[in-house]
């Protein structure tokens, strides 16, 4: 091989540069940036479904509830741990997850999704303090 002295170190430098993100991440002390959400402040342990399922399916469940309540005339209730909730974002979800900013927003911001829920529905802070004081 001609120019061995140049090519081999050059290749090593190239490989190091290309794999830089991997080993930098492996050896540096920075922690994972995956969002962590806070559990309900009230200490409730169970949701209507297990946590993984809720994480993956909550948007589908909300859409189903919306159609049930508004269109199909099925404004039933959901019971979790003996407590009865009306179907709905304001009537059920936010009763336990009163920390919208630490619960909903953390993941939504991370995933860069902007659901339009809060254009109309009231956040727990708004529900408690009124619109003017909360904004």
């Amino acid at each position: 091989m001609y120019n061995k002295g140049l090519i081999v170190p050059g290749l090593i430098i190239l490989v190091l540069l290309v794999t830089f993100p991997f080993w930098f991440d492996a050896f540096s002390a920075t922690k994972s940036t995956d969002p962590t959400v806070e559990p309900p402040p009230g200490g409730e342990q169970h949701c209507i479904y297990p946590a993984d399922e809720m994480r993956a399916e909550h948007m589908v469940i909300l859409n189903e509830w919306r159609d049930d309540v508004l269109r199909n005339g099925n404004r039933g209730t959901v019971t979790v741990d003996g407590k009865v909730y009306g179907k709905g974002l304001q009537l059920a979800c936010m009763k336990c997850h009163t920390n919208k900013e630490e619960f909903c927003d953390r993941c939504h911001t991370y995933a860069s999704v902007t659901p339009y829920c809060w254009d109309c529905h009231l956040t727990p802070t708004q529900q408690k303090a009124g619109l003017k004081e909360a904004n």
């Binding site: 005339g73 404004r75 304001q90 009537l91 109309c120 529905h121 619109l131």
Partner: protein, 265 residues
């Protein structure tokens, strides 16, 4: 050969004409067979179906603008309705208007003084044959089959305002502005607000009825007992009894919308 060229050409001409006109003839025949008026299906069977309706006894509200305002205020609170001073942008679920505006078809030159001087309380008529539902391109407004309420799904409304054009009663309002800063009263934490760019209207308090409560305006007018509410399809219901005992009028009945709100004047 027997066939002369002349007769052959005649026969060919007739056959060609028949061939060309056959599709048109069969289309015409089809059309006349299915020429049943489209409106008729709405007046179909009512068995087992509910249809909520309201009777407003105006005799108890004639000189009571205070009660009418109380009804409107109750509705504003329950549904987080904003208040706009400009009549072009105001949001109306329940409102008051003079007789000639409320009942333009029934007005006459010599009405009773009390009718001329009073305001009439108006709201969505929750028509049995609602024109707003017919024009909605997204089915954001629809008639609930199980109780007859003309409801709205604000999630779907694209703000085209066809329904506002279609409604002959002015019962629909458009949110020209972000409504939240204009909610003057205390907020009802159990009900959402709306957003800019959607149409809104009275929902007959569907959310309260589902909880077994009465409509908010009926509760607000309870001290004079001016509002009766119930199932128009149930002959034993209170509204049907009131309707049977009192002469009532509806708003613009000749349009064929079949309003569910009746007035005793």
């Amino acid at each position: 050969m027997d066939t002369k060229r002349r007769t052959f050409l005649k026969a060919a001409g007739v056959a060609a004409l028949a061939g060309i006109s056959a599709p048109a003839v069969s289309k015409l025949a089809e059309a006349s067979a299915s020429a049943v008026p489209a409106v008729a299906e709405n007046s179909g069977g009512t068995a087992g179906k509910m249809r909520y309706g309201m009777v407003i006894d105006m005799r108890k509200l004639y000189d009571r603008p205070d009660i009418q305002e109380k009804m409107a205020a109750a509705c504003r609170y329950v549904h987080n309705i904003p208040t706009f001073d400009d009549p072009k942008s105001e949001i109306k679920w329940i409102w008051s208007a003079p007789y000639e505006q409320a009942f333009p078809e029934q007005s006459s030159t010599h009405n009773a003084d009390v009718i001329e001087e009073s305001q009439f309380i108006l709201l969505c008529n929750h028509c049995d044959n609602p024109p707003c539902v017919r024009v909605c391109p997204t089915q954001a407004t629809f008639k609930m089959e199980h109780n007859g309420i003309v409801a709205m799904d604000y999630h779907r409304c694209i703000g085209c305002r066809f329904c506002m054009m279609a409604c002959p009663y002015g019962a629909r309002s458009f949110n020209w502005f972000e409504p939240r800063p204009h909610i003057a009263q205390e907020i009802n934490p159990e009900f959402p607000t709306r957003m800019r760019g959607v149409v809104e209207k009275c929902n007959f308090c569907a959310e309260r009825l589902a909880r077994g409560e009465k409509p908010a305006c009926q509760v607000a007018a309870a001290e004079v007992g001016a509002i009766y509410f119930g199932d128009l399809n149930d002959p034993e219901s209170e509204v049907r009894k009131v309707l049977a005992e009192n002469p009532t009028i509806q708003r613009k009945p000749n349009l064929g919308t079949k309003p569910s709100v009746f007035y005793i004047v």
